[in-house]
Each structure stands twice: as C-alpha cells, then as structure tokens.
Amino acid sequence: MNKRQNLLKGIIKENPVLVLILGTCPTLAVSTSVSSALGMGAAAAIVLLCSNIVISALRKVIPDTVRIPCYIVLIAGFVTMVQMLVKAFAPALDESLGIYLPLIVVNCIILGRAEMYANKNKVIDSAIDALGMGAGFTLALLLMATIREVFGSGTWMGIQIPVLAQNNISIMTMAPGGFLVFGILIAVVNKISGGKNAKKNFGCAGCPSAEICGKTSCEEKEEEV
C-alpha cells in the first residue's frame, strides 16, 4: 500500500465512524452544531496524530504485556495537553464540548489505531494513518453536524438559511435526532457499498477493547446462553 492510499483509506474505505463504527459517543454527542463538531474533530485528530507517532516510535520499547496501560497513559497525557490548550485559546469551544473533551481518552478510534496500526508500523506510516483517520473522523462529524444543524436549527456555522430557519425540526438537534441521523447515514453507506458491511454485526469483534477483555468474552457469553 503506497502512502497516498494509506492516507485516503481513513477518509473513505475505512472511515472510522461510518464504516468501522468507532467513536460513536462523541459522534452522537457533539454533532448538534457544525462549529463544535469541527472543534471535536480537530482535537481528536491532534491527539490521534501525537499518540500514533509516539506509540509507533516506542513500539520496540514498550513490553507487549503492559502495552494497553502504557497507551492509555500516553493518550491521557496528550488529551490533557489539548484540554489545556483549548481552555487557554478557545474557551467558547471548551464550553460547548464540555465533558466530551476529557472523554477523548476513551475514544475507541485512538486506542484502536494504536492497537491495530501504530504498534506494527513505522513512524511515518503511522503519522499518515493518523492524518487520514483524523480527517475521516472530522469529515464524518461534519456531515452529521451539517444535517442536524441545517434541519434542526436552520443555520450552518451560524449562518441563517432562508426557508429552513423558520421551519426547523428541533428534534434533530436533540438526542433522538442524533441516533436517527446516524442510523440513516450508516444505512446509506451500506447501500452504496453494496451491503458488504451490512452483515458485519456490531459487537465485541470490531471493538478495539476486545484485545483487553480477552478478545471473545462477549461471544463466549453468547454461546453459553
């Protein structure tokens, strides 16, 4: 795989949100307005880039058995840095992201890329992978936020849209609208990709934490039942 394909795969073919279904919590929560979605996307992308580079550089130093705790500490460190920067330079963004800013620590995209890519590949490749995945996450958030903000409050980045501003569907900016828009977007992606992903069930197998919890605890449990 050349560098260009590596960069582009995160945006379309392996989009972390719409195809790999990772990082659902922040996607649903901050996509109520375009500006907070962009802020969230940028913050997560910066953390992802830093953590992928450092984890890839340290991949031969970190002992395999304690790698997950090491990754979590590294990621938490970068999240704290981003948190302090946002508090200092963009207090309005800090306000709108609220609790979801520190919760980037438990965003599965970041731990997932560390586990699936950065600990097996060279620093430059990992950085490119992080850029692609970060862009894919931001674009997916932007798409969701555009749909929700345009129909929900009749604005885009605060710009009024003539007819929709008077006839907004306020449920779109509330919690049920988030689930609904996300569900329909994934259905559209399934349709376009020819139902290749439709069969893939959402569960432990796709979750990056699967490695931590002994891979198949959910499936084992299911078989028992």
Partner: protein, 196 residues
C-alpha cells in the same frame, strides 16, 4: 433530602446517560441483544460507577485540589479506574467465584467505558458533595440499567421483523434507539414541576 431525590430522578430519567448524554453507547449497542447479558453488564456498571466515585472524589478533593494539580484529573482518574477494575476482578475471582462468573466477563470491558469516566468527572464539574456524588452515581447507573433492559426488550422484537437490506444490523438498531430516546424526552420538565 429533596435535593437527593432530585439528583437521583434526574440522573435516571432526564439526563439518562445513554439516551440523552450519549455516554456508554458501545455496550448499549453491543451487549443489549439478550436480556440477561444486558442486565449483567448494567449491574457491573452500577458497581464500578459507585466504586470509582468513592475513590476519585476524595482524590480530587483532598489530593489534587489542595496541591493545585487539578489539571492531572484526566490521567489520574483513568488510571485509578483501570487499576480499580483490575483489583475488583482479582478479589472477586479469589473470594466470590460465583459473582465473578456472572459479572467478571463484563468488568474488563468497563475500563474504557466512557460512562464511568464521565460520571466521575461530572461529579466534580457539578460541584457535588461526597454524598451527592454517590447518589448521582447510583442514579446514573440505574439509568443505564433501565435503558439497557428496555432496549434489550425492543431489540428482541426486531429479530422477527422484515427489515430492508440496507437497514439490517446496526442502522435499524440506531433507529430503534432513537425512538426509545424519544420516549425519554417526555420526562423533561417533570422533576421541576414535581418539587415546585
């Protein structure tokens, strides 16, 4: 006393962690297929939330704040929760094997669950006292339990339904979650009027 009831009821119904705050979506969608799994997972979450709050609140109040180390909150909390979950698992395995058998498999999953980290950070952000924090954690856990168990019921009805191909699997689950969450919107405003 009214204060505790308000915190409790709003954590369970109005600010439900899953359906209105979007925390803990992964287990909500992943482990809600069968009722007994959903219940087991939720009980484990309630347990860990209470333990995590009991440990992190004193750390923040007596250790981090007096030493101006508030910015270490994120790192310290995630490490404490991860260590705590491991410890609880080891203790359960050694002393109460029957409980470990029913809850144990869910415990490691909870380490990276945003609902647990979320509740500990929110308790600090809201400025709750220790007792209020514990009540809030219990309420949040019960809210998670309620959402999981309700949704497991909804999903069992979906199994036999005739669903368009593109919507099979996750999309229809999300649409069902949307309708479940819609029903919880009906609770907004109830608590204020109840104690007005």
């Amino acid at each position: 006393m009214t204060n505790f009831i308000i915190i409790m009821l709003s954590a369970v119904f109005i600010n439900n962690y899953v359906l209105s705050r979007f925390l803990g979506i992964c287990p909500f969608l992943g482990v809600s297929k069968k009722l007994n799994q959903a219940a087991g997972m939720s009980v484990a979450v309630i347990f860990v939330m209470l333990m995590a709050t009991a440990v992190t609140w004193p750390i923040q109040t007596y250790l981090l704040d007096p030493n101006n180390l508030g910015y270490l909150q994120t790192i310290v909390f995630i490490l404490v929760i991860a260590a705590l979950v491991q410890l609880v698992e080891i203790i359960l395995k050694r002393y109460i094997p029957s409980l470990h058998k029913s809850l144990g498999v869910y415990l490691p999953l909870i380490t990276t669950n945003c609902a647990v980290l979320g509740v500990t950070i929110l308790n600090i952000d809201e400025g709750y006292t220790f007792a209020e924090s514990m009540v809030n954690s219990l309420g949040s856990g019960l809210g998670f339990f309620l959402a999981m168990v309700m949704f497991a019921g909804v999903r069992s009805r979906l199994e036999g339904a005739d669903i368009p191909k593109a919507f099979q699997g996750l999309p229809i689950t999300l649409v069902a979650a949307s309708i479940t969450s819609l029903s919880f919107l009906g609770f907004s405003g109830v608590i204020e009027n109840l104690f007005a």
